[in-house]
């Protein structure tokens, strides 16, 4: 049973992020919700590579002939974190600009482009 616990946590985190996007009115909280979703996906990727009792997948540190955890999901997670950093930085800068130009952060008021 313990084996599937991380995937339940991923489901809960993802739902929390998704619900927060729709319930929140403030743009910065929506950006936080999006980073919650991306951390949920990172946890999902890392949990994929886990082998029970595996050690760190670096020969230099772990020595020879031991059961190792899969390294590829860790590389995928690292890249996903790098991408999430870049998108969050750009998203927050855009939110800063929107606050400068619209004077508000309420997502319902930022709708000059409609129809």
């Amino acid at each position: 049973m313990i084996g599937n616990a991380p995937f339940f946590v991923v489901g809960l985190l993802f739902l929390a992020g998704l619900v927060a996007i729709f319930m929140e009115k403030n743009l910065i909280k929506i950006a936080v919700a999006i980073s919650i979703i991306s951390s949920a996906v990172n946890l999902f990727l890392v949990a994929l590579g886990y082998r029970a009792g595996g050690t760190i997948p670096v020969h230099y540190l772990a020595g020879e002939e031991t059961l190792m955890v899969l390294p590829t999901p860790q590389a995928m997670t690292l890249t996903a974190i790098v991408i999430a950093l870049a998108t969050t930085a750009l998203l927050l800068s855009l939110i800063m600009l929107v606050y400068r130009l619209y004077g508000t952060l309420d997502v319902d008021e930022i709708r000059r482009l409609r129809g």
Binding site: F14, L18, I21, L27, I30, I34, I37, S38, A40, V41, F44, L45, L48, T72, P73, M76, T79, A80, I83, A86, T87, L90, L91, L94, I95, L97, V98, L101, Y102, I110, R111, R112, L113
Partner: protein, 521 residues
């Protein structure tokens, strides 16, 4: 060391080099920066054409990044390919040619269009990163690498859509596109992770060879189809597209059109080559067809009532994507039924793929023409325009060609691809063709409105100072006009050399998998 084998890597290395060199070159003044912008995008187009010729002659081009030799896909008896493999078959080569022509035309256009703005060094590097992301999406054979290229293209397009950071609408459009695209990418990543978790392979060909259609694969397929359909602007998820295309600088809108085609390519690559024959049931093909129909009809009904020129063209791109989804959806529907495929499925796919080429060309031309009007008059609202044909003859001529091509008037290339789609889709169900025809009529109606109000009509005193746009922009539009006229005058050549090999490559899933898994040596 034959350079022909290294073309897939060169195709990505050249824009990457352009993006990294841009900050340095911009220190040495404007002309050197324009030379970099035009030169690098021209070289990318050359490499793309060479790669297309190679693939046409030599079959699927496989390139292993960082391997001993470029085609060592399964080193020393490994069961699965371990490195990132670029797999260029006829369909991706066709898409690379369309994308690089659009990128070259946009670069030519942006040299004059952006000269009055500051921060053009960042614009050039973002432009090349967007081209890199688009071309990478089209040739990569690795599924997680496809996600990385989607992200490169998305981040570059957020920055470019919100490039005029003091215009509130541009920043709002960039923000909304960023919100929906970021949620979509995370859902796509879950699909990529679950496919990796079950098959322990990231390479599309490797996953395709081992894939059985279970519950987890169904969910992964739905997440991928949903995200990629959102990125290319199909109906229920299209609302970011008219905002983003209208508010971006016009050279960038021309490239964004090709970037949305890259996600359409990804959608078709996953449906045809990854899932292919074991795409259980016909729910996904019918879903793609219904999304195509909805995008067509609601896109064009929204476009007819617009009175702002770039938003109108943006809504038209939503409806034109509907045609491609319809054509390729019908191809997907009859993938397993050989008689249906021979009778009308293959023609529908040929129509859909030919429409991708035509759409990228004339839609880019429309955005550039709208940008030229905006550059010359400074206005975007159709109510304030009138009688521009007197002062801007070249732009008017190119706009007429593009408008005739998009509404499918007989001699032009839009008509040929729509004809292929009408006749083949009719065999599936007449209602599909009725909606397609109705959309084409409404497209013609809205472009007659745009042409009459913007170009014809009496001379307005406020536009006496208007002059024809500088030559860089005219050359940019000229490249796309040449492509439209080429496909118009030589439809059979274009079909047999560009479109047919692409359709055959897309249908032939075994060939795609064999190129990588079949030892590759």
């Amino acid at each position: 060391m034959n350079w022909n084998d290294h073309l897939p890597a060169l195709l990505l290395a050249v824009p990457l080099f352009g993006a990294f060199m841009a900050p340095i070159v911009c220190l040495f003044g404007k002309t050197l920066r324009n030379v970099l912008l035009i030169g690098i995008s021209f070289v990318t187009m050359l490499v793309a054409l060479l790669l297309w010729r190679n693939v046409l002659v030599g079959g699927i081009a496989v390139y292993v990044m960082g391997g001993e030799s470029f085609n060592l896909t399964l080193p020393s008896g490994m069961a699965l390919p371990i490195r990132i493999i670029m797999e260029v078959d006829a369909f991706s080569a066709f898409m690379v040619v369309c994308g690089s022509i659009a990128s070259f035309a946009g670069a030519l256009f942006s040299t004059n269009y952006m000269e009055k703005f500051s921060g053009i060094g960042r614009f050039v590097s973002l432009y090349f990163l967007l081209t890199l992301g688009m071309l990478g999406m089209m040739i990569t054979g690795d599924f997680f690498n496809f996600f990385i290229f989607i992200e490169i293209a998305s981040i570059a397009s957020f920055g470019l859509v919100a490039f005029w950071r003091d215009k509130p609408e541009a920043v709002e459009a960039g923000l909304k596109y960023a919100l929906v695209s970021q949620v979509g990418s995370m859902i796509f990543l879950i699909a990529a992770g679950s496919l990796y978790g079950k098959y322990n392979a990231l390479n599309m060909a490797a996953i395709g060879s081992m894939l059985q259609f279970g519950v987890m694969e169904k969910l992964a397929l739905v997440f991928i189809v949903g995200t990629l359909a959102m990125k290319c602007g199909s109906f229920p998820m299209h609302m970011w597209l008219p905002d983003a295309y209208a508010e971006a600088p016009s050279g960038v809108s021309c490239l964004l059109v090709a970037v949305s085609q890259a996600s359409l390519y990804g959608l078709m690559r996953v449906c045809f080559s990854l899932y292919g024959i074991n795409l259980g049931g016909s729910f996904i093909p019918w879903m793609i067809i219904s999304m195509g129909l909805a995008s067509m009809f609601f896109g064009v009904t929204m476009a007819v009532v617009q009175h702002e020129i770039k938003r109108l063209i943006g809504y038209h791109s939503v409806s034109q994507v509907g045609y491609m989804l319809l054509g390729l959806g019908v191809g997907l529907l009859v993938l397993t039924d050989a008689r249906g495929m021979a009778e009308y499925g293959f023609t529908a796919m040929k129509g859909g793929i030919f429409h991708i080429f035509n759409y990228t060309m004339y839609k880019g031309l429309l955005f550039l023409a709208a940008g030229a009007i905006y550059y010359a008059t400074g206005k975007r609202d159709l109510n304030e325009m009138g009688g521009l044909a007197r002062r801007m003859p070249f732009t008017t001529a190119m706009f007429v060609i593009a408008a005739a091509a998009i509404s499918g008037l007989p001699p032009f290339n839009g008509f040929v691809s729509k004809l292929l789609i009408y006749e083949s889709v009719f065999a599936v169900h007449p209602a599909l063709t009725v909606v397609a025809l109705l959309t084409s009529v409404l497209t013609l109606a809205s472009f007659v409105k745009v042409f009459q109000t913007a170009f014809l009509g009496p001379e307005k005193s406020v536009f006496t100072g208007v002059r024809e746009v500088p030559s860089g922009m005219l050359f940019g539009m000229g490249v796309l006009t040449l492509a439209v006229l080429g496909a118009t005058l030589f439809p059979s050549w274009t079909l047999s050399n560009l479109v047919e090999p692409a359709a055959k490559a897309l249908v032939d899933q075994a060939g795609y998998i064999g190129a990588v898994m079949g030892g590759g040596l």
